[in-house]
Assembly symmetry: C2
Homo-oligomer: 293 residues x 2
């Protein structure tokens, strides 16, 4: 498998669907729709939507049937980045090599654009064509749970506000498991649920996604120390500047690399119950820990 080509194919599918699902730039009031498009259509690896699609394909489903769900998780990811970048939060000026949303549209519009993307995500989910509306409701329920205070937002709160330094490793694990892991887990489960996965298949995919999310996040922390600003599209060293709790800060670079490799290995093991239809997910693990962007 040429993984990068496969990933690109899925990204193209998702971007074409996002283009259709997002209100056009001149729909009234245009400013908010421009701000939404600025952040959503501004690149990104589209890993979460690829996970939705792969979750479906791994259990025999089709990408076309889960595109609204794939786009919904990407909108939630985009909203979380816009709000994370705000001056009251991480106060970042650049994201993916471009000015952050509030640097272009101002804080008020950036807050509202984030709100609007989160809201639109749930609207998209209701537009999934399925003969099993109860499965669609289950996906909406899981996405709301994964994006909420016991998932993404919980991770963000602890990341932004934690003053508890007594047990750094536990806090760090909580942050990563929630801030990144929750949406990874929900993404792969959403695709699989819509495609009719069995309980056992869902369990394997869930374990896989949690370990993949962990590997991804450790690698992200490593790249913030030793990555190339041009390739990353954002300044490196911001974690140190902001005194963020990270794997390299806690364990050093070498031990962090080892932990990323361990998580990656376990993620591969979790896929043992699948045949070659899971090959994309297998290649994704290697991509995540070997990437330089």
């Amino acid at each position: 498998m040429n993984f990068k080509e496969e990933l690109k194919n899925r990204a193209n599918l998702v971007e074409a669907a996002l283009e259709r699902f997002l209100p056009s730039s001149d729909a009234y009031p245009p400013l908010i729709h421009q701000a939404m498009r600025y952040s959503v259509m501004g690149g990104g690896k589209r890993l979460r939507p690829a996970l939705v699609i792969a979750g479906a394909e791994t259990v025999g489903g089709k990408s076309a049937d889960v595109l609204p769900a794939a786009c919904a998780v990407e909108l939630i990811h985009a909203y979380s980045l816009i709000h994370d970048d705000l001056p009251a939060m991480d106060d970042d000026d650049y994201r993916r090599g471009k000015l952050t949303n509030h640097k272009v549209y101002g804080e008020a519009v950036a807050i509202l654009a984030g709100d609007a993307l989160l809201t639109l995500a749930f609207k998209l989910l209701t537009e999934i064509e399925s003969s099993h509306p109860e499965k669609v409701l289950k996906v909406i329920n899981e996405l709301a749970e994964g994006a909420g205070t016991f998932g993404l937002i919980g991770g963000q709160v602890v990341d932004t506000c934690s003053t508890d330094e007594s047990d750094g490793e536990a806090v760090l694990e909580y942050i990563h498991r929630h801030k990144t892991g929750a949406l990874y887990r929900v993404s792969v489960r959403a695709g699989a649920i819509l495609a009719g996965a069995s309980k056992k298949q869902l369990d394997c995919l869930t374990e896989y996604a949690e370990l993949l999310g962990l590997a991804f996040q450790i690698k992200d922390d490593i790249l913030d120390v030793e990555g190339d600003e041009k390739k990353l599209g954002k300044p490196v060293g911001s974690d140190i500047k902001n005194e963020k709790l990270t794997y390299p800060a806690l364990f050093g670079l070498e031990k962090s690399r080892e932990k990323a490799r361990q998580a990656a290995g376990k993620a591969q093991e979790a896929l043992r119950c699948f045949d070659r239809k899971a090959d994309f997910l297998r290649a994704l693990v290697d991509f995540v820990i070997n990437r330089d962007f």
Copy 2:
């Protein structure tokens, strides 16, 4: 009918349900759950949830069956107030006689608490017990539409960012129709849809809700000029201070009162297709334009 008692009964039902649905104050991470509860449980007239319940009751449904939907619209209302009050938006220090969310918890947590309430609203909707999951999906779809950029957020964007002063009345109508009207309309429709309303009943209720929302908003503008700060729980005159487009600013107080009465009269007419089960909605119209808080 003793309207205030009936309204209070519904508010009590809703507050007991909100108490159950909101994560407890000590659930991890506690800060965000405390911030969510601070704004949601801090009073308010609970008009939108009352509309959900009345929408159901008017077409023969039961309040107990629509409580998650009633709470969901209240959570969306609460989230929109928290974000509206932020320094980057209206920069308000008081709401309902209490400090605004960001004055107590800081901007970062206030932004996240708003995000979390919006997210929780959609989760609640998936927990509606219904033998018609497609109706629940329709309600989620309408709520996402009404809360999005063609509804609530659209109104907020124009309210916050409009620089077009060429047609004040049209802009003002857009703001009110979207910022207040959209959620009123969705509230009454959500209750009615879940209770199995006919197309004709839905049409009547939709017209009613739009006119009620308009009357409410004109009255709100009037109270900001001539209301009693103690009763309102917030400073009066903030619209003038912020150079907001309002009915009194455009038409003067007397003409604004007349417009509120006209909208109220039309709202009553829209209820002609209903029997006495719509009496709560009828009394609500009078309450909305005669209130002093």
